[in-house]
C-alpha cells in the first residue's frame, strides 16, 4: 500500500470543467453470478447484469467492465484495507479474483455543456445522450490512453486514468478545450 506521499494527486489544473477527484478505494472483481451475489451485500450496490452499466449507492459504485468483470469504487480511501478484507471474507471459497488497484489510477471529472464535445475530440465513441446514457460506463480509448469513461449525469463524465497518463490526458483535454475558450 502506498504511503501518503505517493498517494497525492497527479497534478491537474483545477478548472470549472475539469477536476481531479479525491483519492478513492478501487478494486477489480472477476467473478460469476454466485460470486457477485456474495459480494453485493457487503459492497452495498447491485452488480449490473446489463453490459456497460454502473450501479451506485452509499458513496460506492460498481461498474461493469466486461462479462464477470467489475470496477468497484469507494470514496472512502481510509477503509481500503477493511473493504478488501470484508469482500474477501464474503467471497470465501467461491472462484473469484479481487485486486486492489486504488493507487494504480486516479479520477478526473469533466462537466459542463461542452463536456461531451471535448471528450469527442479524442474518444471514438458516440457520446450523444441517446447512445451513451446516464449510468453507462465502459473501457475505451482517449487518443493513446486507455480510460474508463462513466457518464454520471447528462453533462458530467467520470474518467478513470492510469496515473502515468495523467499529464498526457489532462494536457490533451486542455488543448481540445482551447477551442471553447474555457481554459
Amino acid at each position: 500500500m502506498a504511503d501518503a506521499t505517493t498517494r497525492s494527486l497527479p497534478s491537474a489544473a483545477a478548472t470549472q470543467w475539469l477536476m481531479s477527484m479525491p483519492p478513492a478505494a478501487r478494486f477489480v472483481l472477476h467473478g460469476d453470478a454466485a460470486a457477485r451475489a456474495a459480494a453485493a451485500p457487503v459492497w452495498g450496490t447491485a452488480f449490473a447484469e446489463q453490459a456497460c452499466r454502473a450501479e451506485i449507492g452509499n458513496g460506492r459504485a460498481a461498474l461493469w467492465l466486461g462479462p464477470d468483470e467489475y470496477l468497484l469504487l469507494s470514496a472512502d480511501i481510509e477503509s481500503e484495507a477493511a473493504l478488501a478484507a470484508s469482500l474477501e471474507q464474503a467471497l470465501g471459497d467461491l472462484p473469484h479474483a479481487l485486486v486492489n488497484i486504488s493507487h494504480r489510477q486516479f479520477a478526473l471529472e469533466i462537466r459542463g455543456p461542452h463536456a461531451a464535445t471535448i471528450l469527442s475530440g479524442a474518444c471514438p465513441l458516440d457520446l450523444d445522450l441517446a447512445e451513451f446514457p446516464i449510468g453507462m460506463c465502459t473501457r475505451t480509448a482517449l487518443a493513446k490512453a486507455d480510460i474508463v469513461l462513466w457518464r454520471t449525469a447528462a453533462e458530467v463524465f467520470h474518467l478513470e486514468v492510469w496515473r502515468s497518463f495523467s499529464g498526457y490526458v489532462t494536457g490533451l483535454l486542455n488543448e481540445i478545450a482551447l477551442e471553447f475558450h474555457r481554459v
Binding site: A51, G66, R139
Partner: protein
C-alpha cells in the same frame, strides 16, 4: 473505420479492437507428441481464403474479451459476430462461397 459489433458491448469503433487471426483452430492436446511438420502446421499454416473468413477479434480497449466474426475478405463486410465457443453461424446461401 469499421464498426464491429462486440457480442458483449454492442457496436463499437474498430480502433478499440485487436485482430486475433483465424478462428476455430484447435490446439493439439499433446503438442509434445507431434513431429515438427505437424506442429508447424498448427502454428503457422492458415487458410487465407478469398471469401467468408471466420476470424478472432478481441475487444482490447473495451470489455477485453475474445469473440469470433465472419468477414468477407473480398468486400471487408462483416456478416456475423458470435461468442467464443459458439458454433460458426450459417449464412444465407449467397454468402457461403469459400473460394
Amino acid at each position: 473505420m469499421l464498426i464491429i459489433d462486440c457480442p458483449y458491448c454492442g457496436k463499437r469503433p474498430e480502433i478499440e479492437f485487436s485482430y486475433g487471426g483465424q478462428a476455430h483452430l484447435a490446439r493439439p492436446q499433446q503438442p509434445a507428441q507431434l513431429d515438427d511438420q505437424a506442429w508447424a502446421e498448427f502454428l503457422y499454416m492458415r487458410t487465407n481464403i478469398k471469401g467468408v473468413y471466420a476470424e478472432r477479434w478481441r475487444h482490447a480497449r473495451g470489455c477485453g474479451r475474445f469473440f469470433n466474426a465472419l468477414r468477407d475478405t473480398t468486400t471487408d463486410h462483416f456478416l456475423a459476430f458470435y461468442k467464443t465457443g459458439e458454433p460458426r453461424p450459417t449464412l444465407p446461401a449467397q454468402h457461403e462461397r469459400t473460394t
